[in-house]
Amino acid sequence: MQNGNTAHIWKLLNTIPDPEIPVISIVELGVIRDVTFTDKSYTILITPTYSGCPAVKTFTDDIKECLKENGVRNFKLKLIYSPAWTTDWMTDKTKEKLRKYGIAPPSNTVRCPQCNSKNVEILSEFGATACKSMCRCSDCLEPFEFFKCI
């Protein structure tokens, strides 16, 4: 029955939302580095976004739950640190999802996710989560979060 269908595992993982930003999946976030199948068992390589990101615990639990619910029991999760996670791994499609959700996606030019203005100011480099800064648009005056480049 278990024939090592890694594409199926990727598909399942792609249904798990990021615990903090539910519009993107943990696969789109880039924290799943690889899925391999050896000795009748899957190994899922995970990397943390930030060293202290509390979401890591949540999404590893979510992965276990999701796979078990879908009848996959022969797997193990492995946390790796190299290469260090980077926002460069996000695709343009993922970035667009963030923007629509109201978070300015990682970019060298910060644009207001509401009115697209480049006339913005950073209020604080630290936001509600480690990965975001707090900004304000000087044109439409809306405050917004910016997903930091790292």
Partner: protein, 248 residues
């Protein structure tokens, strides 16, 4: 104890203790933004410490990362004395972190090319975070130093006081030398030049005066600390020691 474990523990301990200090600002920050910033930095520091503790625990084989953090006594901790210094006022915290961040930035930059793959990976990861910690503490140092007469006086006083803890961060003992020879560790002496450049240029922008080197405290590599560490550990370790089986 194995030198590599000891070397790894020293790094982990400084991150943990500084993280604990930063967490003490949570709900006490001067503004909401700063409160969040300092809590974020605390979280990064704990995360970095955790990575190094997990590695030390794996090498050690008999103690878990949690046991290393919560079941060792003061004399078994090897964090820089600088990291355990009290938060004081916001300026004191800014100066302490700035001196520490400047060192950490250079240290992790070097350790990222260690022959030990795990230390190298953890350092490359930590470096990304330490970069913005340094930016944060530098910006505040400049703002406070080049602020009002009062703020300038306060950060200058903190700088003068904390200066005595900047000597030992560069010290090399037999473990450091052994790790350096093995291509694993960093030559701290080589970091001095870069550290001086960061410190001097920032201090100048902040309109502060670099203190003259005088008495320099040391001993943390042997587990000798200032009186503050014991109190910090008593608070930090209370729960797992009082309720050894407690689980989240």
């Amino acid at each position: 104890m194995n030198s590599l474990i000891q070397y790894t523990l020293r790094i982990a301990d400084s991150s943990l203790i500084l993280g604990q200090r930063m967490s003490q600002w949570c709900s006490n920050g001067p503004t909401l933004e700063e409160d969040i910033a300092m809590s974020n930095i605390a979280l990064d520091s704990f995360g970095q410490a955790n990575g190094f503790y997990e590695y030390a625990a794996q090498l050690d084989g008999s103690r878990s990362a949690d046991e290393l953090a919560f079941k060792r006594n003061e004399r078994e901790f090897f964090n820089h004395q600088l990291s355990e210094q009290e938060n004081g006022n916001f300026g004191t915290t800014t100066v302490r972190n700035f001196l520490h961040d400047a060192f950490n930035f250079l240290f992790y930059t070097e350790l990222a090319s260690s022959k030990d793959e795990t230390l190298a990976a953890l350092s490359a990861k930590s470096l990304k975070e330490v970069k913005y910690h340094l930016r944060h503490s530098s910006n505040w140092l400049i703002r406070l130093g080049d602020g009002t007469q009062e703020s300038n006086m306060k950060v200058q006083e903190s700088l003068n006081f904390l200066w005595q803890y900047t000597g030992e961060i560069f010290e090399m003992d037999e473990i450091d030398n052994e790790m350096l020879d093995a291509g694993v560790g960093v030559d701290n002496n080589k970091l001095r030049k870069g550290w001086d450049e960061i410190i001097n240029s920032t201090i100048e922008k902040a309109k502060l005066t670099r203190p003259v080197d005088g008495y320099m405290a040391n001993g943390s590599k042997k587990g000798i600390h200032t009186e503050h560490l014991g109190f910090l550990l008593a608070e930090m370790q209370f729960l797992p020691r009082a309720y050894p089986d407690a689980k989240w």
